[in-house]
């Protein structure tokens, strides 16, 4: 497939406005301004574009939730938090083609009637925040942004807002709190951000990759976009592939390729001639799939049918040497560290999982531990928490226990500590390391 989102990768000077314009850049925005907001929204609905940030919500439909007659400002927020483990695709777009993101933001802002947009980018991405600032500076100087966008009379300002180290701020309501200068505590929904969002105003939050799809939907048409993939699962998708593959990296492929094609064809298979054991298809928050499930199609509905999710498209590949108890402990540690602490099932549940998993690894596991883990995961998910972080650890960790239960039971029965390994999945020393600052 000819790349759309990554077509600038490998081109010299691809980040500059001159390069972007030479590739037909800002033509989509020009068309959008000529069509008017309603037609733009209709095109996006017709393209069947679904959000690339994790939830896969239809983008055009989300825009229609913004109240038409609402007095006062409304906002567009580009989610560049990229915090889901195994995900590194938004950074790739920004690295090679920051103007593609800016054009997408401008199209979406115009469609919902926003005159201010924010790019919320994770604090660690200093380089990529700077690249965006440079591109925004160019766009302002050339009157692509500002009081009179491309001479249309429409005004738009875009500001970069840096986070400061918190996974939870990728979740849209936590992100909005953080944007407002608060701790990143998720809000109860409803009201949804499209109705009550940033500063109490209607706000659409869209992922970088979602927005980067918009220029080509406008220039090549919604039918072209919808012709890629299958109904309800359309368009190109970026897959971030990491772990034990020969060629990890970001791949742009049509939705609906199989994970076998991604892992064995595009990424060259498993390193060192080893065998595939398991993979997370959509970031670490997606339930794990085993080697036997590698023919699953990589799209939203096929992943849902397989009991998992496409999520962010972050494929984490594990080979046969990985101990799944260690993998579960590593992830439990991540979520325990990143739980914002508002909800008891998530805060205590994630911490409890770390304790149990470390106990098993230390050779002190109890026969009832696998069931206790499953029970904690049930209590921390399915609507028991304000935001889905509880689900984000409950689903993958319970899937590991369910699919690799024999590994847990063997470990518990042997009652010996984990042997030292060359690449331990628990890189820190000691049972409860002093993480954070």
């Amino acid at each position: 497939m000819e790349p759309t989102l990554l077509k600038a990768r490998g081109l010299e000077g691809s980040r500059t406005l001159a390069s972007y314009l030479s590739r037909g850049g800002y033509e989509g925005l020009r068309r959008a301004l000529a069509l008017g907001p309603q037609e733009v929204t209709k095109s996006v609905i017709d393209s069947e574009l679904r959000g690339r940030g994790g939830a896969g919500f239809p983008t055009g439909r989300k825009w229609t939730f913004v109240p038409k007659d609402h007095p006062g400002p409304r906002y567009l927020v580009c989610n560049a938090d990229e915090s889901e483990p195994g995900t590194f695709k938004d950074r790739e777009i920004i690295e090679h083609d920051p103007h593609l993101v800016i054009e997408g933001i401008a199209i979406a802002s115009f469609a919902i009637g926003a005159h201010t947009a924010y790019i919320y980018i994770r604090g660690e991405f200093v380089r990529w925040a700077n690249l965006l600032e440079q591109a925004l500076g160019e766009a302002r100087r050339e009157k692509i942004l500002g009081a009179d966008v491309l001479g249309s009379g429409y005004s738009l300002d875009i500001w970069v807002h840096r986070g400061a180290g918190a996974y939870i701020c990728g979740e849209e309501t936590s992100l909005l709190e953080s944007l407002e200068g608060k701790r990143g505590f998720p809000r109860l929904k409803p009201p949804f951000p499209a109705v009550v969002g940033a500063f109490g105003k209607p706000t659409v939050v869209n992922n970088v990759e979602t927005l980067a799809c918009l220029p080509s939907i406008l220039t090549r048409g919604p039918a072209w976009f919808a012709s890629i993939g299958r109904p309800r699962n359309t368009g190109p998708k970026l897959f971030s592939v990491s772990g034990h593959v020969v060629r990890p990296g970001v791949y742009e492929l049509p939705l609906g390729v199989t994970f076998r094609e991604i892992i064995f064809e595009h990424c060259g298979g498993i390193r060192a001639g080893r065998k595939l054991k398991a993979f997370f298809p959509g970031g670490s928050s997606a339930p794990v799939l085993t080697a036997a499930e590698v023919d699953t199609k990589a799209d939203f509905d096929a992943c849902a049918e397989a009991g998992t999710m496409l999520g962010s498209g972050g494929v984490i590949v594990l080979d046969e040497t990985v101990d799944m108890v260690e993998a579960a402990a590593n992830l439990a540690h991540f979520y325990a560290h990143e739980s914002c602490g508002q909800c008891t099932p998530c805060r205590e549940g994630s911490d409890w999982l770390v304790d149990i998993l470390h106990r098993i690894l230390a050779g002190h596991g109890r026969a009832e531990d696998p069931d206790t883990i499953l029970r904690i995961c049930r209590f921390a998910s399915q609507g028991m928490t304000i935001c889905p972080l509880g689900d984000a650890f409950s689903l993958p960790i319970s899937s590991i226990v369910s699919k690799f239960r024999d590994e847990f039971e063997r470990r518990i029965a042997a009652a010996t500590p984990a042997p030292p390994r060359k690449h331990p999945v628990l890189p820190w020393a000691g049972p409860r390391p002093g993480f954070g600052r």
Binding site: P85, G123, R127, Y167, G184, S284, K422, H423, V425, A429
Partner: protein, 175 residues
């Protein structure tokens, strides 16, 4: 180009903080991005961390006064996020990613190597104040694991030999 060291202001200097004209004008510009002053809190804190190297209690007080917030509120926000230093950092903060993709691709080896070479582990710093190690969560660069962020810069696809070369370069860095 190699990573620039952090110059952490001495706690005495930050007992009482007055923003100079340059800081004031940058803060004023940031305020124009938002409908309410509080929203400029994170950007202003970033500005301060760049300027003073860390967010001392005196800095929180000055920021609070400038944005019309209470110092306690500012402290609450500062401590929610992991990237604000509330104590003076070493010149180079080695942020070693320990999440799954990095873990299975050698983050443990990097930490073991750092322990051998610098004698410190996560949460510790070298006595001369040059290096500090922090175990961090996924840095969003998993395809080039293992990854270490040094101050603002990413170093990817590392192994012990590359790490050694990097540490040599950093240790030799001029002020």
């Amino acid at each position: 180009m190699s990573t620039a060291p952090i110059h952490a202001a001495n706690p005495e200097e930050l007992r009482e903080v007055r923003f100079d004209a340059a800081m004031e004008s940058q803060i004023a510009e940031l305020l124009t991005h938002y409908p309410i002053p509080r929203a400029a809190l994170l950007p202003v804190l970033w500005l301060c961390q760049k300027r003073y190297g860390w967010i001392a209690p005196g800095v929180m007080e000055a920021v609070a006064a400038r944005l019309g917030l209470s110092p306690a509120y500012v402290q609450g926000v500062v401590t929610f996020y992991t990237m604000f230093h509330t104590t003076p950092p070493a010149r180079f903060v080695l942020q070693v990613c320990t999440t799954l993709s990095c873990a299975v691709c050698g983050a443990g080896e990097l930490l073991a190597h750092l322990r051998k070479r610098l004698g410190i582990g996560p949460g510790e710093r070298t006595p001369d104040g040059t290096f500090q190690i922090v175990g961090v969560q996924c840095l969003g660069a998993c395809g080039s694991a293992p990854v270490v962020q040094v101050n603002d810069d990413y170093y990817e696809n590392l192994d012990p030999a590359k790490l050694d070369a990097l540490l040599d370069e950093l240790a030799a860095a001029k002020e």
